[in-house]
């Protein structure tokens, strides 16, 4: 099991990581909002095709980490690489090209509420492909089918339940068949059964191969179910990293508090 102290700390050490096999790499990333430091010298890499879970209490920088990976937030210092290319300094076409390789499921789904569910899923296809309208609709329908929403194509997002919105958001995130999928709190606001259904969908994606999953959660059963590897953030720093089994045996106070909490399953 890798502890925070064992993780690469210097630029030289971080550079040893082979970016050719890392889908995502954060290299000494720090970020503050005003006086509040959210990420403090965070470095880690996520190998291609792995399901990587970022755990931690609320406000420890988990979602900010995801936002760095897709370039919605830029680090105060350090660098973020996606598929070997630095996204933290990319602009314009370069940034857009990197983002097309990434799907992002937001915590509150963030569906465009002025267009139908189907058009939400079709949106990235309309923007970034030259496919005819009929084929775009077919592909959007296929993505909706993969999340069990094939009948909801023409419904408006406001008419969906929380779990359905989440699944529609997942279908939209998958529209361009991204190589990396970022998921922010998949179980937030959902009942345990719906949450389990979302977890099954994510675990299913793992099985299809190729897609790198990075999931932010504080739901331990979800983390165990989906994750190949877990990483725990606390007060903006990495306190532990390892497989789910290694996390079970970890004696770090914060890890133990999480893994053995009442809701840990």
């Amino acid at each position: 099991m890798t502890m925070a102290a064992d993780l690469p700390r210097t630029g030289t050490e971080a550079a040893r990581i082979d970016t050719g096999t890392a889908a995502v790499r954060l290299d000494h990333v720090s970020k503050a909002f005003g006086e509040r430091k959210v990420l403090d010298d965070v470095s880690f890499e996520v190998p291609e095709g792995r399901a990587f879970i970022i755990l931690g209490r609320s406000g420890t920088g988990k979602s900010v980490t995801l936002r760095h990976i897709i370039g919605l937030v830029r680090p105060d210092s350090g660098s973020v690489f996606v598929n070997g290319k630095e996204i933290s300094s990319a602009h314009g076409v370069e940034l857009a090209t990197a983002r097309k390789q990434i799907g992002f499921l937001f915590q509150n789904s963030a569906l465009f509420d002025s267009i139908s569910v189907g058009e939400n899923v079709a949106f990235p296809l309309r923007r970034h492909t030259r496919l005819p309208d009929r084929e775009i609709r077919e592909r959007a329908q296929e993505k909706l089918r993969s999340v069990g929403l094939e009948r909801e194509f023409d419904r408006m997002p406001a008419d969906l339940s929380g779990g359905m919105k989440k699944r529609a958001g997942l279908a939209r995130a998958l529209a361009l068949d991204p190589s990396i999928l970022l998921i922010d709190e998949p179980s937030a606001g959902l009942d345990p059964i719906t949450s389990g259904e979302i977890d099954d969908l994510l675990a299913g994606l793992k099985g299809t191969g190729g897609t790198t999953l990075i999931v932010v959660t504080h739901n331990i059963p979800s983390a165990r179910h989906i994750g190949d590897e877990l990483l725990m953030l606390h007060q903006g720093r990495i306190v532990a990293r390892g497989t789910p089994e290694e996390f079970e045996r970890n004696d770090n106070e914060m890890v133990r508090a999480f893994m053995h909490s009442k809701n840990a399953g």
Binding site: A96, A110, L111
Partner: protein, 262 residues
């Protein structure tokens, strides 16, 4: 100077600077490709065409009221025959453009402020960016262009509706016929009265769209922030339209001396 006043002044100046940079970016990107043609057309429909009923009804009502006031004034001098021309000049040169600008700052300004504010707090703007879409160009530039195109057209509609309202009032008061009314109305209206004043509303459109887009796009603090963005969009757009109108009228008189009657 007390520190509170100094900090307030610095904050206000910083705010003006932010809006100016935002407006400059919107103006620059409106002129450079890629152009979001489909979304711009959709915004022209949403912001422009759907404002037409409000403008038409308001125009007719304003025309009726202006006609009644003009009659009350001109009757004293026995110049009732000048009513259509006086009304047409008042509408085309000032009342139509300014009233349309203020009405649309209410309808369009509040709409843009609330819509973009809601999109910001529900992460829809982030979702656009995450989908590799330039959200500024897609949301802000399209609205700015749509407003710049729509305002002159809606102002023309307001002028026309006002003339119809004036005719209805005159017809009710004196039984004046439609052809005679419009013949008298247009005897004194020239291109220099209509064109500069109507083009002026393109600036109003730019002000409404950039101010309300800025407030919506930079919204914070959840639904409360959305409400504040919507209200401030209307208030600030209206104030800026009234102030800029003074400058623009002076500018029009400078560029077109004959428009000032010179």
């Amino acid at each position: 100077m007390p520190s509170v006043v100094r900090e307030g002044a610095i904050g206000a100046l910083a705010g003006v600077g932010e809006v100016a940079l935002f407006a400059a970016k919107a103006g620059r990107e409106a002129l450079t490709p890629p152009f979001e043609v489909r979304e711009t057309l959709r915004q022209i429909y949403e912001l422009g065409a759907r404002s037409a009923p409000l403008i038409a009804v308001s125009g007719v009502a304003i025309g009726v009221v202006l006609s009644m006031h003009t009659r009350a004034s001109l009757e004293r001098f026995g110049a009732e025959a000048m009513i259509p021309a006086g009304l047409a000049l008042a509408l085309v040169r000032e009342t139509g453009p300014l009233t349309a600008g203020l009405l649309l700052s209410g309808r369009i300004g509040a709409g843009i402020g609330a819509e973009l504010g809601a999109m910001r707090v529900t992460e829809q703007i982030d979702a656009l960016e995450a989908s590799a879409v330039d959200a500024f160009r897609y949301l802000v530039v399209t609205r700015v262009v749509a407003c710049i195109i729509s305002l002159p057209l809606l102002t023309t509609l307001m002028n026309f509706a006002g003339m119809i309202g004036g005719f209805l009032a005159e017809n009710a008061a004196t039984g004046m016929s439609f052809p005679l009314y419009f013949q008298r109305a247009f005897t004194m209206v020239e291109a220099r009265d209509f064109i500069p004043a109507t083009i002026k509303t393109m600036v109003f459109g730019f002000i409404i769209a950039t101010m309300s887009s800025f407030l919506g796009y930079t919204t914070r603090s959840g639904t409360e922030g959305v409400g504040r963005a919507s209200t401030r969009s209307v208030v600030l757009s209206s104030i800026l339209i009234i102030i800029s109108n003074v400058v623009l009228v002076r500018l029009i008189f400078f560029i077109f001396p004959k428009a000032a009657g010179g």
